[in-house]
């Protein structure tokens, strides 16, 4: 089952982390951007080409030490369809390099539309009598504000094609509590979302004890993370907020079960921008990213032993 595949990769590399591919313009080393803009001009196509070269270089540098990548759709959408083409190419290249791919798209809509989103990101699209893959990730993030009928179409696709998803439960950003921490009866809103996710996932549990329906839980609220780990024992966690957002290894350890399983921690900026801290010009971005990824693995490894 799909989170089993991820957990196996994590175990093999002894590294429960995912590299975010959130290519903000300022993250791209100048020599890569210059080459693409020299070729294509100051166009969306030029910027998209630079991002593809950067992503491929990062994935080449990380593929034997990091089990998963998580492209953030917004940074591709801002480059229009040219960006979306590069997002597809990034996902395909990631698969060729052996990465587990989490499409960070945070989609959510009424049933029939959720079905279309699931076809787009993890499923197949039928054209005439042919089934075709669009973005074809292993997993995606979704937003459940609209309730269970906005989630179940994703679950159906996951069962058909052995994929999985993460629902936003408790997010890492400063204002996440405005809605998510509201007390409603004997629960807070994010617990309700977590419980809903757990309920939808409960009928298929994999080898490691986790369902297809995971949850996004931020590292920046470690006591909530700890409580949710206890509450949602079959729910795999995607944990953003480590590093630049303030979460530490001491915080994220609460995301894991007693076997050091059941969670993956994201880092984007610290890996993609590692070259900016070497004092050089970005030509060394691959070495810098690799060193940052190893440092993160070892940092978390101080607290988490993966069995």
């Amino acid at each position: 089952m799909s989170f089993d595949i991820l957990q196996d990769k994590i175990k093999a590399m002894k590294n429960p982390t995912v590299a975010g591919l959130d290519p903000k313009p300022e993250y791209v080393p100048p020599h890569i951007l210059k080459a693409s803009l020299d070729r294509y001009g100051e166009t969306l196509e030029g910027a998209a080409d630079a991002i593809l070269q950067f992503n491929k270089g990062l994935m080449d540098a990380l593929c034997d030490i990091v089990p998963a990548v998580k492209p953030q759709s917004a940074y591709y959408e801002r480059l229009g369809w040219q960006g979306m083409k590069v997002l597809e190419e990034t996902i395909r290249y990631a698969g060729e390099k052996g990465f587990f791919v989490i499409a960070d798209v945070k989609r959510g809509d009424i049933g029939s539309t959720a079905q279309a989103y699931s076809e787009a990101w993890i499923g197949r699209t039928r054209v005439g009598s042919t089934d075709l893959a669009a973005f074809d990730a292993d997993c995606l993030t979704i937003n459940g504000y609209m309730g269970s009928d906005a989630i179940t179409p994703f679950l159906t696709t996951c069962r058909e094609l052995d994929k999985c998803f993460f629902t936003l439960v408790k997010t890492s950003n400063p204002s996440s509590g405005e809605l998510q921490d509201m007390v409603a009866g004997d629960r807070v809103v994010y617990q309700v979302m977590g419980d809903l996710t757990a309920r939808l996932g409960k009928d298929d549990i994999g080898r490691y004890g986790y369902s297809r329906a995971g949850a996004v839980v931020g590292a920046t609220y470690p006591s909530d993370l700890r409580a949710l780990r206890k509450r949602l024992e079959h729910t795999f966690f995607l944990v953003p907020g480590y590093g630049a957002q303030g979460g530490t290894a001491d915080d994220v350890r609460f995301a894991f079960d007693k076997y050091g399983r059941g969670a993956i921690v994201n880092a984007s900026r610290s890996i993609m921008c590692a070259w900016q801290k070497t004092g050089r010009d970005g030509q060394d971005y691959q070495d810098a990213a690799r060193a940052a990824a190893i440092a993160m693995r070892d940092d978390i490894g101080q607290y988490v032993t993966i069995l």
Copy 2:
């Protein structure tokens, strides 16, 4: 201000409705699909081409009677980057035909990522020293589950470029209440989301009394719609759920203020699929769509007079 522009168009056409462009495969008339697949094969490109031809034909038929269109991103994303290219072309064509364009994307993410989404859908993307437009709609839908820092970047872009957005408040789907109707203190969750939207919008109010921060409120819960209209006096409403989902003209009238302003009602299936009810083969899809749009306008016009 942007909702003023929409309200002016609504007033000129005496029609407070928006045509959803949600091109599910079964909505496309067979002769259009066949022509595209004959040309491109059973490919994503072929399906995307069919949708573009269909959308253009619909917009040609509706542009003098319907003030706005609302493409639903999911049905383009399921066709990969080829679908996203057609979504861009659809939005551009809609602008040329004079439609106000609402990109129904329901995006939401932490601040820096929300900024990237706002660049993608209503803003500009800087490449080198050039500002470029990606999808370039007039307005978009967003999801505020992550709180105010997931919304404010959109507001900032709206102010810079005179655009606007709708936050999901009370959605039209059957399970919307699972989260949105939960009682939290003296309010329910969707009221909290509505109040948050109103607060963020309060500092710029247009000629008709509406801010840049609108709200999605479904026609399928008319008593909630009525109460929210009273509660959020400066919040423009996008009202889905009329027609196929069960909402009636008698229900949606509660979305409007005493001048018949402040709301726009969506219909997708009833217009796009009108040709399926004529008993013919779809060659008449433009006439059928136009007749359905006029019928909807007149149906709502029984209850709502726009001053």
